[in-house]
Symmetry: D2
Subunit: 474 residues, 4 copies
């Protein structure tokens, strides 16, 4: 498999000499929580094959545990914290903001907390956005509504100098950045610029990706809520399809490069017949293509539900070669493509169908968190504060085997997590949909292509790792 | 105002000689429900102006009360009932089906109840759909899921002879037809053909229009549920708009010719800034056009939410001149039009906006009923059964001043109910959105146009009334 | 039937000479809302029996239409409005508060709006509660959470002098009081004391009764939401009962003297087998008692769901002879009684049952409104403001035949609305539950008792009417 | 720490010689799912302390991976499967049943699947319950409703001989038992009796405990749904408390010996001020008791919310010394106790409070699963089928580090999982509620007691382990 040698060493701003104001136990066995030590780790690798002991490898892959330290780097009285949310909406943004503010205020006694408005753009003086002073009162009920209390926007992470200038001007020495892949890479650049200027400012990220495509972590916040909402949408469209002559429900869900939302929704809805994701190519035509299988399904059951991730089947479409403000490739629209191709196909066969196409994306993104997601956001926020107070920097908070850890941003952004077609998750999804393993006419072409994709992704990640390693050496 | 003379006389198949198997009281004051008499009516007109007593007119407008009769026309042992659902989905279809089946079975002891599949098409032999035998067991839990248990389809109501042939072949002597305007006109044609053949078959409609555009009745079933769902969609898009720089949320809702769903949703969401409905024309451009007002709103509040009924602003669009299978005019897409025009406008002004456009229609149509809607469906179904058992025909069941009544199909389909721009409903909507009364540059043109529209609608209804009256004379 | 002669004449503070700042049309036919005239009424009586014309009577029963008047009594610049919420929680309190504040502020330009905290107690100086200054910003999102933004409490309406002193001290000349029966009687006393002191202060009530027991109006706000929530609770308990051997689900719902919530919930849930309400007495024992029927149901179907209103079956219990702070009679607990009696009965018969008893009251009362309820609250609030601005006083806002009207508090509190056992509502409820019309062993005793109850209620109302009439003459 | 040596070796019925009908890949790297090998394990221990390498220990604690095997033990054509659900309701029962049925039917082609009604009691001939033949059609929509499609009951697991007789009589050779701690111990006894009789019947458990108190596994199914529902209840009661003068909301939640639901609900609600769980003792009286802290909270904030697990504070109550049918100790009612003590306390201090007490247990247990829980149930069910087909027996399916594994019932039932007061979960809960770490007056007494409890639990588990080990040796 992968030959990458990860380095999960966490960077610190300096020695921790300030006694934490949180009173915890110094040791275990006292029936109250103890401080977490920097020598506590979580093992990343848990798969064991009897004939192939990975103990050696596992040690290299340990992740530093998150949590409150006995000695911290910052004197709370001198802390000015900043928080910003970047990129698209995702359920839970407000829950995270609220947790960061409350932990800073209630646990550490920090009294200067600045909310940066509308993502990185809030740092740019020409935009004229003021910061919002945050405290437990004005964030008290924000978790009950969706969206971002601070506002968000895409892009801007490349204007590193402007951002650091602004951070200096605001007197911020602890910056919490909630955002995705691109945002966190920006955060790393910002932290490196901070280093270069010799400043002591902690940069801690809380990774946000509704697509759940972050490597290493169990899941991203907002993902479960997204699946909950998406499942309701699929259930609606299923009722519609089921009530029509040859009803076809087509639902496009989020998932640019990773089909986790589509896969989980297919499993949770129990009513999806075809789940199409970026990781698993498919043909439209031919005896083993989607259209033929869809026709078979209609003959047998008179209705069908298709769930498609927005990044699925891109190879079937004319590329757009455009990017959005976050630097993400603009995808051609697979939903429209499928709608039109399916309509044409059955029209040409003189089969009357009733196709309904929906894209519930915005409702999914703006949803209020489920209880479990809300807990996750609260705990991510708390741990981000503990990390920043201890002078940790250039990290994101992650959840690994249900434990909170520090992951260097450099590692967290190496490559995306994808739905492994060999995984039990996808296997269970196929069992739920009863769709063919591959809807393609020449399986060899596909596996060749998948191998090529995997190799390219690996090479890209290695190149990034190399770059990061060089940077660290400097 | 209107000069129409309605005739709400209900047609019967013949004299009722069968004692009802339901044991009710014969009189009031017994502390148990009494049979409803054919001499019980509900006054339609309740507005009173002191100087203009309408007592005379009111009497002419009485509506026959629905409910179980002491003597019924059909011997339950000889009844074969048929049920079909036609047209688009609407919340509550299954609740109505369930109520009809349960009332027939439990209250009257009817044991032959046939569900026609997929609307009027289920009658056509070449389609090959079999009927479903319905009983309290197989409809027991169908109200818990959306859609139509029987399936539905558009159109087919013009093949009157085929349908009556099929009804005869199935031995049905009591036909329940759940559907909209077009469907009910078809039902009237069917009932007239039944008359012509000298058959004794009751045709009772349950009016279904998620748009709530039926004249005379308080509201249509499914409407409240639709508004509940639509309100949730608007709340989502509001969160999205609120979290973005110059965020604009644009929501297209159902409402081809009547803006009730949009109006009620704007009121219920409390977060709509512009509500656009077919009944109130608007200009895009000019100092008092939508675009100028939208720009003002963004300057003041940095975000905006627009709710638009699908039939709004049709005069701004190039007509499609097409109709769907139900005979409804295919509307040009105002949602897409607004999205594109707004995007162009702000691009040309170099104002950065974030516009999100959603059309939650299918989720709204497939929803499970709210409690109140479910009660309404149950009571509509019960009263439809009571009416049919008493030999009433060519009627729909309506709710007038919270009382269930029989309305001749001929009257119910004369014209559509619309949002009156002079009504307190629209006044309260304007108070909720704080939008201008008319976003037009020349108010006279608009009022002239509205007057012309109203006159045309009135003339059309009069013509229909004339036709119906002629028919009745024959 | 009733021999009462109602008097729906609305009292005014004085002549309206101030031109309304709301610009409406002066006449109909202009395609924009017109001012409502004091000569517009809504007919209360809509039942018509052919041989018994009620035109005469109907005229006496006209209710004054609510809405904005062309000329108003108060100069908005001189208005100080007060709002308070009294009694138990009810869904929609915050929606009403928000609407009153927004209509005062946005439509009339009123800038001094004082929220009284914790009901009438907020007026008592010894409690030390300050008023909250209300404006569209601080009430902007309160409709998204349940409860009362102002807080509420029971009782205190009898300290009329203290309250009017406090109103004078606060300089309030327009008082909005949201509360139930007892609260509104207090409001009338307050308004009478205001009269006595020669003050010009408008007192407008918004009637709040989750039990829906207010005479004359279509329904009370919060009622639909309560039924929605209660239906969910019944569905849960039904699942529980259905999954157990001889599972019995017992749900106690609100309804001290009127069983509307229980009745509507039984209808909406479609899974209730016995619905017990105060208006319909029942026996526990004997061949036609509840226990015998429950046993029959278990034998046939192995599970059962019972919905009971808190005021049902009080004659079976030992009276408590206590009242709560609102002056309501403290009811003995029918839920506990039923639970214990049913348990004993089946234990004595050695029949194994699984009984689960729940009282979801507080969840129901604290719920966020459904869309339809929220619209209703908004429009009640708007119309309350229009009424107060026009100098109307001693009235509550009501909804009659879907039209908003002014009802004198003296009439609105004459007697409670109850579920009429002869009504089609109860008839449809019996059809839904399939329970016997009366579960009693001697029907004559019961009807005698019901007649006696009805006579007593009528006599009590007549006495109140007499008292009110005397008061008006003075 | 613990000195227990677990043995996670999985027992098999015999050699697997039947080629699986599921076509999977034989190896990794093929871009399709491969069969899972018996040599695949998941490491249980993931905590790493730098100075204390646990590699050695970890190896001893490996758990066998679940999933489809290439060769299976049973010939699908000869399989008769049985399913039963035991104990109290829990969200997800129907989702699990559905998944087991569909995987057996669709993936393995098994056609004889018998649903045992009402738990273990369904096996007892004197009860007269027939089995229900299950297939994908009759379980198709059962996941949309709560409860158990098969019915459930407590107890009966001790009548091992009767149960095995019945299993033989029904010809079942694959038994799926969904139930909690006591049920699974019963399942082990059943499997041992099967062994003794020399039968080849696989017994596979799916552990059900809404309290989430199962050792080793990440979480139990239904737990997240329970927390979702409980959080809604807490939010309601918070609104009530917040709207009253000195409003106190008291919510009793499930959790006999483990406070996971209460803890997670306190975190998710963000509105809980005191979270009381069995694992953390508290005093009522004294300067550091609950009552004093509650009084302080009311003085500062005028309202408070208390969440209490049913098993909390048992030391304060008079023991009942009774057990229910499942053999669980009947707990004295801490909710009632708290309600009464709080009421008395403030009455004695002449402080007016408004206390509302709710127990939303049944609504929580009967809820429909969240999307994430539904996925979990589906995958548990699939893996249970894969295990049984491969002849695995005496195991339950577990989720460990997000991977599905086989856990011997003997290990899974050794001891309960509890909320560790030293864990980061409880630490974050304290941060959320801001309650004191311990509300006791003498901390030493408490830690002594906790140590004693822990030692006793450990000794009990060791004794069980000893017993199990002896049994295995035989």
């Amino acid at each position: 498999m992968s030959t990458m040698k990860y380095d999960f060493t966490v960077e610190n701003l300096g020695e921790c000499k300030v006694k934490s104001p949180i009173e915890l136990s110094l040791d275990h066995g006292t029936f109250r929580a103890a401080y977490v030590k920097d020598s506590s780790f979580v093992r990343r690798q848990v798969n064991v094959f009897k004939d192939n002991d990975d103990a050696e490898d596992a040690k290299a892959n340990n992740l530093e545990k998150a949590g409150p330290r006995e000695y911290i780097y910052f004197n709370p009285a001198h802390v000015t914290a900043g928080i910003c949310t970047c990129g698209g909406l995702c359920p839970g943004l407000n829950d995270v903001i609220r947790a960061v503010v409350r932990c800073l205020w209630n646990r550490y006694g920090v009294r200067r907390i600045r909310g940066i408005q509308f993502g990185y753009k809030g740092f740019f003086t020409e935009q004229g956005y003021e910061t919002i002073d945050l405290n437990p009162d004005n964030v008290d009920t924000i978790h009950k509504i969706g969206g971002s209390f601070l506002g968000t926007s895409r892009g801007g992470g490349d204007r590193v100098n402007d951002i650091v200038d602004s951070i200096e001007r605001l007197g911020i020495n602890m910056m919490f950045i909630i955002g995705g892949d691109g945002t966190q890479r920006g955060a790393l650049d910002i932290a490196n610029e901070i280093d270069k200027r010799g400043l002591k400012i902690s940069v801690v990220g809380i990774p946000k990706t509704v697509d759940n495509d972050l490597e290493f972590i169990d899941r991203s916040f907002g993902f479960e809520t997204a699946v909950q909402k998406a499942t309701q949408a699929v259930n609606s469209i299923h009722m519609e399809a089921h009530s029509q002559i040859n009803g076809i429900g087509l639902v496009k869900l989020m998932g640019r490069e990773s089909g986790f939302i589509a896969t989980a929704t297919a499993l949770a809805s129990h009513e999806t017949n075809f789940c199409l994701i970026p990781e698993v190519p498919f043909d439209m035509d031919g005896p083993n293509g989607l259209l033929a299988h869809l026709e078979q399904r209609l003959i047998k059951r008179h209705h069908a539900v298709i769930v498609v991730a927005e990044g699925a089947g891109q190879e079937l479409l004319t590329s757009t070669n455009q990017t959005d403000a976050s630097g993400n490739k603009k995808l051609a629209d697979i939903g429209i493509y499928l709608r039109d191709r399916i309509t044409e196909y059955f029209a040409s066969k003189k089969i009357h169908i009733n196709l309904k196409y929906i894209d519930p994306g915005y409702e999914v993104r703006a949803a209020v968190t489920t209880a479990n997601d809300s807990i996750y956001c609260e705990r991510l926020g708390n741990n981000a504060v503990h990390a920043a107070m201890a002078g940790k920097t250039k990290i994101v908070i992650g959840l690994v085997h249900d434990k909170y850890v520090h992951i260097p941003i450099s590692m967290a952004t190496l490559k995306r997590n994808i739905v492994d077609p060999e995984s039990s998750l996808w296997r269970d999804c196929l069992d739920a949909t009863l769709q063919p393993v591959y809807m393609v006419n020449n399986i060899n072409t596909v596996t060749d292509k998948l191998r090529k994709n995997a190799d390219e992704a690996e090479a890209k990640a290695l190149a990034r790792l190399e770059k990061v390693t060089q940077m660290l050496k400097k």
